[in-house]
Amino acid sequence: MNRRAPAPLPDAARRVLRGDRQALARLISQVENRDRSVLPAVRALYARSGHATVVGLTGPLGVGKSSILNLLLGHLRALRKRVGIVAVDPSSPFSGGSILGDRIRLERPAGDDGVFIRSMAARGHAGGVALATRETVRLLDAFGMEVILVETVGSGQSDVEIHEVASTSVVVVVPHLGDDVQSMKAGLFEIADVFCVNKADLPGADSAAKYLTEMTQLGVAKGRWRPQVIQTSTTPPRGISELWEAIAAHEAYLDSSGSRRGQDRQRLTGEILGLVRERVDASLAAALERDPDLQAVLDRVVARKIDPHTAADRLLAAVRRPK
């Protein structure tokens, strides 16, 4: 651990703090590519983050997440908020390639410095966001964006990782997604702080909203946040300011209830454990690769002489041995 005076700000970090958009874009790419040379800049910018409202937009394929995102962007710009957007799309499991199409729906005046939009391929990461999403949100935060909107991959029932990134999670649904038992299932519907029933001009919107409202009234302790249900439609736009007010109400609740601090602490714990796991993984794999004793252990597992649990114990013991 380095306990000397703090190092001067790395150049990339200084440029980001000065508002250099290309430097920010470059840094995000390097974070996506897991380029370790930018770690000093990323570390230096950490202290400047923690100010933005981070809103996650998730929900099944085709419910209108991108269109809602576009309307929210317009609404927030009208309120003069600086807005960062991270839009995640899936990567092909076959080629690794990806089509990132969320920009098509996003409208903004050319040259508007108050907006920064970044598309991101999930690169095989499950859960609806990319590995680099959290770090990218943090960079946008340090860059000075006040609200950061994260649109997930069109999600399945268990793509709930956005809940670990956003301070407010909005689950977007449409009428007739399924019966009311669907909404009682675990997963996606549990993470909602706000429900957005989009395409509310379609028949069935009222009953969908009613089901969700009834469900959210169940099992919420007194004084705790009860998810709000907002009906929206995008052509013509309706319900967007109500949607933002519901998000803002949840943000206010996080502060007034004191739960923001706990949320933050819990997430950072998870993130740190993840980083440790990654490194331990790498060093264990390397040890297993090059240590002939451990290779012999592996041979015995393959020969069914010892079991994988025993082998794991030995591997752990081996890397714990002081060098």
């Binding site: 958009r21 290309q22 874009a25 470059r26 995000i28 790419s29 390097q30 590519n33 380029d35 990567s91 092909s92 076959f94 080629s95 690794g96 390639g97 990806s98 089509i99 990132l100 199409g101 920009r103 098509i104 050319a110 040259g111 920064f116 939009i117 970044r118 598309s119 391929a121």
Partner: protein, 128 residues
């Protein structure tokens, strides 16, 4: 890379087919869609930190729009981002555009394999 259609024509089948082929070749393709101004295209390319911009055009306005994209990239000190194009572009114009800095131009009948191979070559090796 970024695929965009500058100007006013509304036919994006070709751009989509090419985007799809590049995806299948393992690239991350940002599809910016129809009716983009050169300003919007360059702004998107900078935010996304792409290595390559592919412009698709059928309207005949390429001699106005492509040089503008190149000029904006220069103005933003982003000439590291390379540009190629496809669409209905007469040979004479193609020659002049290549002189200005458009790296490759594909007309009707170009094969997807050819486009993918060229895009890969122009993009160069990964920077990181």
């Amino acid at each position: 890379m970024l695929i965009a259609k500058p100007g006013l024509d509304g036919h994006d089948r070709g751009a989509k087919v090419v985007a799809r082929a590049l995806r299948d070749a393992g690239m991350e393709v940002i599809y910016a869609g129809l009716r983009q101004t050169p300003e919007e295209i360059v702004e998107s390319a900078l935010e996304e930190d792409v290595r390559l911009i592919g412009l698709s055009i059928l309207s005949g306005a390429h001699m106005a729009l492509f040089p503008r994209v190149l000029a904006l990239l220069k103005q933003k000190r982003a000439t590291r981002i390379r540009v190629f194009a496809g669409g209905i572009i007469p040979d004479e114009d193609a020659k002049r555009l290549k002189k200005m800095g458009i790296r490759a131009i594909f007309g009707p009948g170009a094969s997807l394999d050819e486009i993918v191979a060229t895009a890969r070559k122009i993009a160069g090796p990964s920077r990181t």
